[in-house]
């Protein structure tokens, strides 16, 4: 890192003069980029140890379509293959499952976490329309759709930003709605029923609404801060149609039968999000904290810290650490004791008490005058209670939370043309 030389009065005057003159002759400044597209592209490789692999190419393009009016087009294509836990608990014997579509059977060895094998793809498209309705008010309307073989999601959102206080403060308010349709091959199973005999229903759907209020404040010449509050409600079919759970014997811990999971048909959550961006002499620090809670009994804390270390004029390194911890949902357990399965029950490990740590590094480099190339490598480890105190019999010897290790590699390229 180079030390910035002491700012001379001449430099300071040059900046002040430039501010004054560019402020009055705004027409000149906005005309420069008018007809160009800003293009961001990336390809992401996400790979879990012994589980899912994802390849996701993605692109975003933004263009001015008028004075202070922009349009952004977004596209992501995901290709997923591999295995993910089906929710059943490991046992001391081999277990055999029939795949959700009923076409094949899968055998899980003793002590192993049962998985579904799957292959899927997803295409997500989105568009943002951003417009300044006055000198200090900026509106964004967004529409998104996402399509998988067995799932469709559509979402709309509207957001308004108000600049106040000589543009040192921005207040924002947003509203979002979404509609999701779940249509697995062969239909949605009747939640909470025995896997072997469960009725198959038609497609199911869920809807969601969320509101967000935020304030962004320039604290001083080097510091920017944001505080958001978000409330979200969703209702309808909130289960994962592929997740099952094991009902076990209260004495031995042996699996007696499998049930489809059943979650409540509504969920209400609240989020507080705080973020700070701080400019050191050259480097920039990003720090955020999020508190989340919902009426399923999940509470979580997320801390994300990234430090952009400048390697001279053209390139930077950005190490990052993210820590996440959540409490489990009230209706989660690794398995349920025969005769006392509650109304709502799930063994989806994502609803379990768990911690997750991500360590990452990113390298970025400017290419030419307005292009940038970057690559990032991240490693995530998720761990939970592998030997919970309520394990029964031989369960005490087994690993009841399947730890997850995932590696992300992403290559990005941004340019304007």
């Amino acid at each position: 890192m180079q030390l910035k030389k002491k700012q001379s009065i001449r430099d300071a005057l040059a900046v002040a003069t430039c501010t004054l003159l560019s402020g009055v002759s705004q027409t000149q400044a906005t005309e420069v980029n008018d007809d160009r597209w800003e293009l961001d592209t990336a390809i992401l490789f996400y790979s879990e140890k012994d589980r899912v692999e994802v390849i996701a190419p993605t692109a975003t393009a933004k263009k001015a379509i008028g004075e202070d009016e922009f349009i952004t087009l977004r596209a992501v294509y995901d290709s997923l293959t591999g295995a993910s836990p089906n929710g059943a608990s490991p046992t001391n014997t081999a277990q055999t499952f029939t795949s959700p579509s009923g076409e094949s059977t899968l055998t899980t060895q003793a002590g192993e976490t049962p998985m579904w094998e799957f292959r899927d793809m997803r295409l997500a498209l989105g568009v943002d329309w951003e417009r300044s309705t006055s000198r200090t008010v900026r509106d964004t309307l967004s529409a998104d759709i996402s399509k998988e073989r067995d799932y469709f999601s559509g979402a709309l959102s509207a957001n308004r930003n108000w600049d106040l206080n000589d543009r040192l403060t921005t207040i924002s308010a947003g509203l979002g709605v979404n509609y999701d349709l779940i249509s697995p091959e062969g239909g949605v199973p009747d939640a909470g029923q025995t896997v072997a005999t469960a009725k198959v229903l038609g497609d199911e759907s869920k809807t969601g609404t969320s509101v967000l209020f935020g304030i962004t404040q320039v604290i001083n010449r080097r510091t920017l801060m944001q505080l958001n509050y978000m409330h979200a409600e969703s209702s309808g079919y909130l289960n994962d149609p592929y997740k099952i759970l094991s009902v076990v014997d209260s004495g031995t811990g042996a699996t007696l039968q499998y049930l489809y999971e059943k979650r409540p048909d509504s969920r209400s959550s609240d989020v507080l999000f705080w973020k700070m961006v701080y400019h050191l002499s050259e480097d920039v620090l990003h720090l955020s904290y999020r508190y989340f809670q919902d009426d399923w009994g999940i509470k979580s804390h997320t801390v994300d810290l990234a430090y952009r270390y400048e390697l001279g004029e053209k390139s930077y390194l950005r190490p990052r650490v993210r820590y996440y911890t959540q409490s489990g949902a009230d209706f989660y357990n690794h398995s349920f004791v025969n005769g006392s399965v509650p109304t709502y029950a799930s063994a989806d490990s994502r609803l379990a008490e768990m911690d997750s740590v991500t360590l990452g590094i990113k390298y970025g480099r400017k290419v030419g005058s307005d292009s940038e190339f970057s690559v990032r490598l991240e490693q995530m480890v998720q761990s939970g209670k592998d030997h919970p105190s309520d394990a029964i019999g031989f369960q005490q010897q087994l690993d009841l939370y399947a730890e997850l290790e995932a590696t992300t590699i992403q290559f990005s390229y941004s340019t304007t043309f």
Binding site: L13, T17, L21, V24, T27
Partner: protein, 309 residues
């Protein structure tokens, strides 16, 4: 000086390979030099330049009674809401005040109530100066865009910025107009010269420098008949060789230090600076004058071409 009638006429003359457009504004002869064969274009650009100079004079002159400066100076302690352009200039003035540690101050004009620079020996006494100084100082006013509130009796004067601002603004407008008119040939360069405050956008054809006459009526000696050769940049002069006071053999410059209320001692008669643009040059020249004896050292530190008289 009372209200100055604005003489709204222009003249266009063909010189050696370029057009010279002339008019009067801000109590100074103003001209633009433009290297083109196209007389219609030259005429249009001259009109744009003159209109902008007259507009800025009308809007910010403290000698008029129908503008924002008059409204502010007669606000008697009430807040005045100002437009964006005025706000930009006030922000700029505040910044210059900070950078000069209070020596450049657009509220210092009221000191003229006691200091009259007419070559005579009318030196005010200390209590008189103190009394006026109570109404001087950026720190005594309240400025939060768009509201400016002066204490009763305070005044602002944008004269120390206005002419240089007019030059740089005019350059921007002419560049925009040229870009529109000459899309195939946008490298036509020109000079804007408002009473010695100058901006040169680039060299003449064949990389020749412009030769600009410095006939500032305020100046005397070398500068009054001087010429400069310049390829690019802003030029401005601070100081006035004819306005001073002499008492007991001491020559008092007309540059007043608002932190003391007294003229700056041992200031050069005038300072001319070349910088990136006209406002920058003008403010550096003014800052240098306010440094008094240290003027040259200050400018050497800033690394700009300059000369003093």
């Amino acid at each position: 000086m009372s209200q100055v009638p604005i003489n709204q006429s222009t003249e266009l003359i063909q010189a050696d390979g370029y057009w010279v457009g002339r008019f009067q504004a801000m109590a100074s002869p103003c001209e633009i030099l433009l290297e083109t064969e196209d007389s219609a274009l030259a005429k249009r650009l001259l009109q744009i330049a003159a209109d902008e100079a007259w507009r800025i004079e009308a809007k910010f002159s403290r000698y008029r009674k129908d503008n924002i400066v008059h409204q502010i100076n007669t606000s008697k302690g009430k807040a005045v809401s100002v437009d964006e352009e005025t706000a930009g200039l006030l922000d700029y003035a505040q910044r210059c005040c900070e950078l000069s540690e209070g020596r450049f101050d657009i509220t210092s004009g009221v000191l003229r109530e006691v200091w009259r620079f007419d070559g005579s020996d009318n030196i005010p006494d200390i209590p008189q100066v103190k009394q006026v100084l109570a109404r001087v100082g950026w720190d005594k006013l309240y400025w939060q865009q768009p509201n400016l509130q002066l204490q009763d009796g305070m005044e602002i004067d944008l004269g120390g910025i206005g002419k240089e601002y007019a030059v740089d603004r005019t350059v921007l407008l002419l560049q925009e107009a040229l870009q529109e008119a000459l899309q195939q040939e946008p490298d036509t360069n020109f000079v804007v010269n408002f009473g010695g405050d100058i901006y040169v956008t680039g060299p003449r054809k064949g990389d020749e420098p412009w030769v600009i006459a410095l006939d500032d009526p305020r100046a005397s000696g070398v500068l009054s008949s001087g010429q400069i050769q310049l390829r690019r940049g802003g030029v401005a002069t601070s100081g006035d060789a004819r306005r001073f006071l002499v008492k007991d053999g001491v020559r008092y410059s007309h540059i007043l230090d608002p932190t003391t209320g007294w003229p700056v001692a041992d200031a050069p008669h005038s300072v001319t600076v070349i910088a990136g643009n006209c406002m920058e040059a003008g403010m550096l020249a003014t800052f240098a004058m306010l440094q008094g004896k240290q003027a040259k050292i200050f400018l050497e530190e800033q690394g700009v071409p300059f000369w003093t008289i």
